[in-house]
Assembly symmetry: C2
Homo-oligomer: 338 residues x 2
């Protein structure tokens, strides 16, 4: 039985007040994989996903979902192989994705928490990126929340990230002009390689608002906001009439969870531009996933689609990789190969 | 000929840096009514409208429309009687409304700038309030921008104002629970008389956010924002899931035109609540005015509709009335009887 397996797992030991540090987590080796109950499966991780939303889970403040408890397992999406099944719909060897695998090497879950992935269509780890939540997030944020239309000037923050890479390629294929905002020249170069028309390295410009004005002289029609903070500010100063802003993430506020974010407000600009700002969460679109998957599938099978991953090795690297991500030090979709 | 008539008119003499003062305007008596050209009409004002949007026009900063020039006539909607016509579609004695009458006793305009009003259906001055722009603004803001649904908890700032009175009665008739926010106990009493379910005098509460929480324990579904500022802040701390905020006016920022508004920002709350914030301008809905007029006409002919006006006498009172309005010292739709 698999229940003799050691299962290394990261638990939360402290709610960080500002930017998390590695000591806020502990790699725990004390637990073995539990014995399966009827209807459960045991999955061995191939890849785990590192995502900005995790920052919101390690705050005692109310978020989308209940936060992680102290000594609780950190959440993460994951893909892997079933090594034991007590459920009819799966057998050993099946490749599956789990929306919540956890920061651990093995997961035991009820079978309906897993869904099979097709590794002939795309590599297994892509189900954590463009074939998974980030891809779906890009699709609904761009087309549904931000109502992107051909001809729009579309700005994207964290443009070389998991979501941003997909947004850029979806928008470009839709006939938009696409502007990447990212934190290094290398990232901007990559964005241009995958189809972005222009790019701004926000760490190298004196005045981001002026720079956006230069690149988007008629103003920004759509802003896909993965960051909040100063990039959002600079966009708000450059809204075109009827601009739409899809608020997907606020990673730049990572050191301000539970604290007010003080700065310039833009209600007058929103009124003058008759702009729309809308927060969204991909899970609200679950009924429409098939539509999004079909659209993404076409984009990918057209053969032009490109995607960069940033892979670290081993469960040990999970906490440091998460902190890297919060500091924009990753380049591409952050994954941990187990 | 009418061109011997003296025409008293208010001109702008100074761009106010913060809250306007009476000395920023001058009542000018030096001009006579000009002679009519072919196609023009001369209208004698019965009522002029005083509205918050005027604050935005007396700033050198970009707004919806070009600002007023120094020594230029201040803008205002007005209703009155035609006393001379050189246009086929009108004759002397016709009652008309002008979207831009100006702060003056007489207006000479091209005939197609005027439209006849039916004073059998509603009193002439109502075409400056519930039968005019404020009524249309209430309709499109509530139903189109904020997508109000039966059962929603709808909060309205400046609830006893020209727009707010209509919003409250439209929302109540639509099956919403309606909460008035206003600046005095008297105003709140009036709001309850016209159908608001609850009211908050924001000048008398210690913590507005807590008060809103008490009155809207499940959070605010719709906020019709006529003010911006601290009331907006308190609402942002009480958003229900999928809340919609229609930004109609930012009168509380009247002393900050052209200057940044610094304070707490709410991007994280927008994300967590998946809320939508949208600025709008009634003129964008011009193609749908008939639909709105029909809806408002039904509400009014049902016989339950109530509306309070705050009328000052004489062109002399125009500037002081405008400043009163900016300080929330009016009670009801502010009008000047000429």
């Amino acid at each position: 039985m698999s229940s003799n397996l050691n299962n290394r797992r990261w638990v939360l030991v402290n709610y960080p007040e500002s930017m998390p540090e590695e000591r806020d987590f502990r790699l725990d080796s004390s637990l073995k994989v539990p014995e399966l109950k009827e209807g459960e499966i045991l999955v061995q991780a191939s890849y785990l996903s590192v995502d900005p939303y995790m920052r919101g889970r390690i705050s005692p403040t109310k978020g989308y979902t209940p936060g992680v408890e102290l000594e609780g397992l950190m959440p993460a999406g994951g893909v892997g192989e079933i090594i034991e099944s007590r459920a009819d719909q799966f057998e050993s060897g099946d490749k599956v994705a789990l929306e919540n695998f956890g920061w651990q090497e093995y997961a035991v879950v009820e079978a309906d928490m897993a869904h099979k992935v097709d590794t002939d269509l795309a590599p297994i780890q892509s189900y954590l990126s463009y074939m998974g939540m980030p891809g779906l997030t890009a699709y609904f944020g761009l087309f549904d929340v931000a109502s992107a239309k051909p001809g729009d000037c579309v700005a994207v923050s964290a443009a070389s990230g998991a979501v941003g890479q997909v947004v850029g390629q979806l928008a470009k294929a839709h006939g938009c002009r696409v502007v990447a905002i990212a934190s290094s020249g290398k990232k901007i170069d990559w964005c241009k390689e995958i189809g972005y028309d222009a790019g701004i390295n926000y760490r190298k410009v004196e005045n981001l608002s002026d720079e956006i004005k230069a690149v988007c002289p008629d103003g920004v029609d759509v802003y896909f906001d993965n960051t909040g903070g100063p990039i959002n500010d600079a966009i708000m100063e450059n809204l075109n009439l009827n601009a739409r802003i899809a608020v997907c993430g606020v990673i730049s506020l990572a050191d301000k969870v539970g604290k007010p974010d003080i700065g310039p407000r833009y209600l007058r600009q929103i009124l003058i531009a008759r702009a729309r700002i809308q927060g969204f969460l991909v899970f609200d679109y679950i009924d429409r996933y098939p539509e999004a998957r079909e659209h993404l599938g076409k984009l990918i099978s057209d053969g032009e689609f490109k995607f960069k991953e940033d892979v670290s090795d081993g469960i040990e690297s999970m906490a440091s990789s998460f902190i890297q991500l919060l500091n924009s030090e990753n380049f591409g979709k952050k994954l941990i190969k187990i």
